[in-house]
């Protein structure tokens, strides 16, 4: 069976959930193999095997940590040359997309970014699904040239285990001059905190300008915690300095697609909708009955969030006890 290369997203061997989703999708197309860059193989290999990676290519060279993005392109290009994979899957973050684009150009391949699903076409090649125009459209496409290179958004599929014992293969990579041109002077991993990550969460509770102050985000956090949710924010709230940018939902923030999205004090501008419109269930609290967010909401409360949200949290707690 043809190999499907999957680039592993990890920190020191701790593999992120989107990688498990990539491995699950890869099994539809062929036999997944993982490419692990940097240290952490001891930790990562077991998880990668559990989700079906038959082989793990290890590139533990200092360059992949010291320089920005491009060493990964050299690594994938050189591994792909030797293995002739049927497709290459990467996570759809800023880094993953940049690696994918350069890789596709070098391999003479086609590229699809931000896929939300991959199926197998009549000829056995991948058919991708993407969202377009603030998720008002679904677009299916096929790559017509070379080895398909596809970046996939988080939550495209539920990760399913398919345990195998992976073979480990260490690879030495020759890094080109441009690959070592942009140095990473420092790297501060984002704090993971106790709440689920925005892209991985089943429920997201977001606050906007209506929250009216950093200190009031405690209320959003309280509702999030009663639901086991991640916390999101609109750009207005982030620009005001009330919540960190890593929590921004929307076109220039994170795009989420949870089971439930709760928007409080958010008007529902097109750029915000672009980041949450594909959520399964949407509920909103807004004091303006004409707020556009209500056009998307399966359930909306026209009211003051400072009244509605505390009552919501109390009622959920009361029903539980």
């Amino acid at each position: 069976m043809a190999e499907i290369l999957v680039l592993v997203d990890h920190t020191a061997g701790v593999v992120r959930k989107p990688t498990l989703e990539l491995l699950t999708l890869a099994r539809r197309l062929g036999e997944p193999t993982a490419v692990l860059l940097g240290p952490g193989a001891d930790t990562a290999t077991e998880v990668l095997g559990r989700f079906g990676a038959h082989k793990v290519y290890l590139v533990d060279a200092p360059e992949v940590e010291e320089f920005l993005v491009t060493p990964a392109v050299d690594a994938l290009a050189q591994i792909a040359e030797g293995t002739a994979p049927a497709a290459i899957l990467l996570p759809s973050g800023p880094d993953g997309k940049e690696i994918a684009a350069r890789l596709a150009l070098r391999l003479g391949s086609g590229l699809v970014t931000d896929a939300v699903d991959i199926t197998v076409g009549a000829d056995g090649r991948p058919v991708t699904e993407q969202s377009a125009f603030a998720a008002t459209y679904r677009v299916t496409a096929q790559i017509t040239r070379g080895t398909p290179v596809i970046t996939v958004k988080p939550n495209a599929v539920a990760p399913e285990p398919s345990p195998v014992t992976p073979e480990l293969e260490k690879r030495d990579i020759t890094f080109g001059p441009v690959s070592t041109a942009v140095r990473v002077l420092s790297r501060t991993p984002r704090e993971r905190g106790d709440r689920p990550e925005l892209t991985e969460a089943d429920i997201v509770v977001s606050g906007g300008r209506g929250v009216n102050g950093a200190e009031n985000f405690a209320l959003i956090e309280r509702v999030a915690d009663t639901l086991g949710a991640a916390v999101g924010a609109s750009r207005a709230a982030v620009d005001a300095g009330w919540y960190p940018h890593s929590h921004q939902v929307g076109q220039t923030g994170t795009q989420v697609s949870p089971q439930l999205y709760l928007a409080a004090g958010i008007s529902g501008a097109i750029q915000h909708r672009a980041g949450m419109q594909t959520s399964k269930t949407i509920v909103a609290v807004n004091k303006d009955a004409d707020a556009p967010i209500f056009e998307l909401a399966d359930y909306g409360v026209v009211g003051d969030l400072f009244q509605v949200l505390p009552q919501l949290a109390e009622e959920i707690e009361r029903r539980r006890s």
């Binding site: 996570p91 150009l105 441009v178 002077l185 220039t252 089971q259 509920v283 026209v302």
Partner: protein
């Protein structure tokens, strides 16, 4: 120092955007404008020009006739000249062909720094800056939210996939900046008048030594099978808070098994 800012003319994101029958963006039915995210790249170029001497800022766009409007808007914000690459054969180009045309035009013009937006607001793939760097054989410093250019180096803060990074490269380079890099200025009346007199050159594929077969729909490396509008979300129940809004919402969430 020569700065080239890549700016794209895109359909207005707040309008109802659609696809044509062959799966490409319908540009006829909605107004287009300078991609809002490219205004941040224009702003950074102008700030660099203001803080140094002998800095030339030029704008570059690849697109149909009316893409000139994006160049005029950028020129009204500031800067020196503009370059428009237009050719019927470019229509339907994917990111690979677009980056080829941009790269050839940049090489022809000469550059120390290429500035881009983080993503276009229509296609939005956010890969053109990296493809440009790959084609030009220079470093790419992407997704920068705090940019410093001095002494032949670019330094910036970058929000990467899982970490905040400080990164540094040497010129010449391609840099893309985010919407957090600094608010873009509005064109002044004086700026709008001055823009009309600034040089705007139009080039075709032949001027760049590119064959028609290298671009457009025929060269595209992927093909759209279907583009279907999602059924609009059906508007759900809307209740006015009469003092029990939170309880009602809790009941809804419990019924849906979220709580």
């Amino acid at each position: 120092m020569k700065i080239v800012v890549c700016v794209k003319h895109v359909p207005d994101a707040t309008a109802d955007r659609t696809f044509t029958e062959d799966g490409t963006t319908d540009r006829a039915s909605v107004d287009s404008l300078l991609s809002e995210l490219d205004e941040y790249a224009v702003e950074q170029a102008l700030r660099i020009a203001e803080s140094g001497s002998d800095v030339q800022v030029s704008y570059l766009t690849v697109g149909p006739d009316d893409a000139k409007d994006a160049l005029r808007k950028a020129l009204a914000m500031g800067g020196d000249s503009a370059l428009h690459v237009a050719d019927e054969d470019i229509e339907g180009s994917d990111v690979f062909a677009t980056s080829l045309v941009l790269a050839r035009a940049i090489e022809r013009h000469g550059f120390d720094l290429v500035l881009c937006g983080m993503a276009s607001t229509d296609g939005g793939s956010a890969v053109v800056p990296a493809l440009l760097a790959e084609r030009l054989g220079v470093p790419a410093v992407t997704h920068i939210e705090e940019l410093t250019v001095e002494d032949g180096t670019v330094t910036g803060r970058r929000e990467g996939d899982s970490a905040t990074e400080r990164v540094q490269g040497t010129l010449p380079a391609v840099v893309s900046v985010t919407d957090r890099s600094g608010d873009a200025r509005y064109p002044s009346f004086k700026g709008i008048m001055a823009a009309k007199k600034k040089p705007l050159e139009t080039l075709g594929l032949a001027d760049l030594g590119i064959d028609a077969g290298q671009v457009g729909r025929t060269a595209a490396r992927s093909a759209v099978d279907t583009a279907t509008r999602r059924p609009p979300r059906t508007k759900g129940e809307l209740v006015s808070d009469d003092g029990t809004g939170g309880v009602g919402l809790a009941a809804f969430l419990t019924a849906k098994k979220f709580a």
